[in-house]
Amino acid sequence: MSPAIVVDGLSRRFGRFTAVDDVSFEVGRGEVFGYLGANGAGKSTTIRMLCGLLAPTAGDAVVAGARVSTQPEEVRARIGYMSQRFSLYPELRVAENLEFFGGAHGMGGRSLARRLEAVLERVGLAGLGRERTQDLPGGMRQRVALAGAILHEPAVVFLDEPTAGVDPWVRRRFWGLIRELADGGTTIFVTTHYMDEAELCGRVGLMVAGRLPALDTPEGLKRTHAPGRVWSVRGGELPPEQARLRLAALPGVLDVQSMGAGLRVRVDRHATLGADDLAASLSGTVEVEEDAASMEDVFLAVVDAEAQRVGTAAAFGEA
């Protein structure tokens, strides 16, 4: 079975600025593929090119079997898209919005009506068709927008920051829906700012300043980019900044980050440094617990590596 998305050397420049820089990857059918990156990293620009909304300046992509550069019509018929900025007309009712997007895909009559019911049911909004969209809370609106993107049963669904600005509980629920869709065979391409959401993806691509320096499963990414053991350190009598410097100076410590009330210390897997050594380096009662590497560790490590590669701090964006 051919992959759902094949991206080959995709680039996009705006004037002299390169928003997407020679990106290549593949996404399998039924996969949940996450795209993680800071503001302005080039996530939306990539999606727009894959949806045929923006012409690439170089490279090409095949989406659901149709070539973006030469068969944009076919691409549009086979994808669903939830844009970052807009997804619904607020003054229309829920059902009116969905009828419109269904109609825009050439659906009509009985089959549209049946499908509309089914989709509302699926996103957990059965019976809410007559609500004015603008009166719904943000989380529900997002689910209506998702319903609009999957109404015509597309093979690939692009979701550009679908959960921006909604609370964690609602986000969890939304990701449950994404999971179900993928289990049903739909390919999901989703962008996010949230590290915890990245953990929920089958594979994650990390975008930094238009480039894609890391791409793997969340576990794979952690192994490659945040190796070693992670300890969480709390307590002690030293001021945090001094404690940080102390810990960072120990042999085998890769990096130290502040986390809430404590510090996260990443230690080389081959170093002999243990919990007791960490506690001993700080005075007072110190609590040390083993922790797991997070996507945040990965993200920071990758951004660091990119910054060094480029030789400037420009790659930081504003994560």
Binding site: F14, R48, C51, G52, L53, L54, A55, E73, R76, A77, I79, Y81, S83, R85, F86, S87, Y89, E91, L92, E96, E99, F100, F101, G102, G103, A104, H105, G106, M107, G108
Partner: protein, 376 residues
């Protein structure tokens, strides 16, 4: 093909919902044209009516009263009272109580009886030159009528052969009422502005909200978007035409003497042309504010100045006359005046219909062609 129609239907239905839910659009489309017709119809009227006339009758004879009655019976003048002495005239003018004063000197009846020339004085506030001109013409005519009556009475009811005189007859608008002439022009003018504005906002709004991006991710084509946007506004425009023409007939007694099918076809073509111009503007500007300005400039000025609405095209300098050929309101006004006032039909008006059709086609083609289906 069937899918294309479904998509156009979906776009049109959605747009109709926007129109129904947006009070401003409804106001713009329905209330504004009516309001403009009524305000302009009265305000721009070139007729002078009811000039306040004060009378200073020193003669107080049946003859002098007959003269005064003849003046006040005409709707151009309206009696506002009698003055006691000649000095009061200046005061009446200054206070704005009267714009005309008719003085009948003592001895008016006697002079008439003796067969002498009897002179009366009409003082006019000439600060409005055009009104003065019309009042003078009217007064002259009234004086002649009264003279004729006096002469006839003197000759004991004998018919006298009138001396040879030339008379100008105005056809189509015998009373010379400017409302008859203005309402067709006004109709075209109002429709032009409102239609261009409506569609220019409709597409620019989608760009500004970002919904155009969502739309582009679906299989809808450019022409489908254009047509889908156009249809509901065309229906709205049809209602506008009916509303405005009904108001014209009702308030200003504008007749409908010719072939109404011709009028309907012309309205349709004109509406498509103007709505198309609005679409073109918003496809190019992508911004509601700029679109509003561009619409007003490009629809209002030509439709007012170069269409024959305010100024006769025949009197324009060559360059402007040439320019007027690309103003669709010009052709629509010709059709409106033709059908409503002259009773003309296909035979006379087909060239104008042809020009309207050409303009409509050009606008739709241009907006579709300029419609970039890409975001940047």
């Amino acid at each position: 093909m069937r899918r294309g129609l479904v998509r156009i239907g979906a776009l049109a239905a959605k747009e109709a919902l926007h129109i129904r839910r947006d009070p401003f659009t409804l106001y713009l489309a329905l209330a504004l044209p009516l309001l403009m017709i009524v305000l302009f119809g009265y305000g721009v009227s070139l007729d002078i009516d009811h000039i306040p006339l004060a009378v200073h009758d020193e003669d107080r004879s049946p003859e002098s009263r007959a003269l005064v009655d003849a003046f006040t019976a005409a709707h151009e003048f309206e009696a506002v009272g009698a003055l006691e002495d000649a000095g009061a005239a200046g005061e009446a003018f200054a206070r704005g109580r009267a714009s005309a004063v008719l003085t009948v000197p003592a001895g008016y009846a006697d002079r008439l009886a003796r067969g002498e020339v009897a002179t009366v004085a009409l003082l006019l506030d000439a600060s409005d030159a055009q009104a003065t001109q019309q009042a003078l013409t009217r007064a002259d005519a009234l004086a002649q009528v009264v003279t004729a009556e006096v002469v006839q009475a003197r000759l004991g009811g004998m018919q006298v052969a009138a001396p040879l005189s030339a008379r100008a007859w105005t056809r189509y608008n015998p009373a010379g009422r400017s409302a008859l002439f203005l309402v067709p022009g006004l109709t075209a003018y109002v429709l032009a502005i409102v239609c261009v504005l409506l569609t220019s906002l409709a597409v620019a709004r989608e760009w500004e909200r970002g919904s155009m991006e969502q739309l582009f991710s679906t299989p809808v084509g450019r022409l489908e978007i254009i047509v889908g946007k156009l249809l509901p506004y065309l229906a709205l425009g049809g209602v506008q035409v009916l509303l405005v023409l009904t108001a014209g007939a009702w308030i200003f007694d504008v007749p409908a003497r010719g072939d109404l099918v011709v009028l309907a076809v012309a309205s349709l073509l004109f509406l498509v042309g103007m709505l198309g111009q609005g679409l073109l503007i918003s496809v190019v500007t992508r911004n509601q504010l700029v679109a509003t300005q561009a619409s007003t400039m490009s629809a209002m000025l030509p439709s007012m100045l170069l269409s024959g609405f305010m100024f006769p095209i025949a009197n324009m300098p060559g360059v402007l006359r040439a320019l007027s050929h690309v103003v669709p309101a010009r052709y629509f006004i010709t059709v409106l005046r033709g059908v409503l006032l002259k009773g003309t039909g296909w035979a006379e008006l087909w060239p104008d219909l042809g020009m309207l059709a050409l303009f409509a086609t050009l606008m739709i083609a241009a907006s579709t062609a300029r419609f970039q289906r890409k975001l940047a």
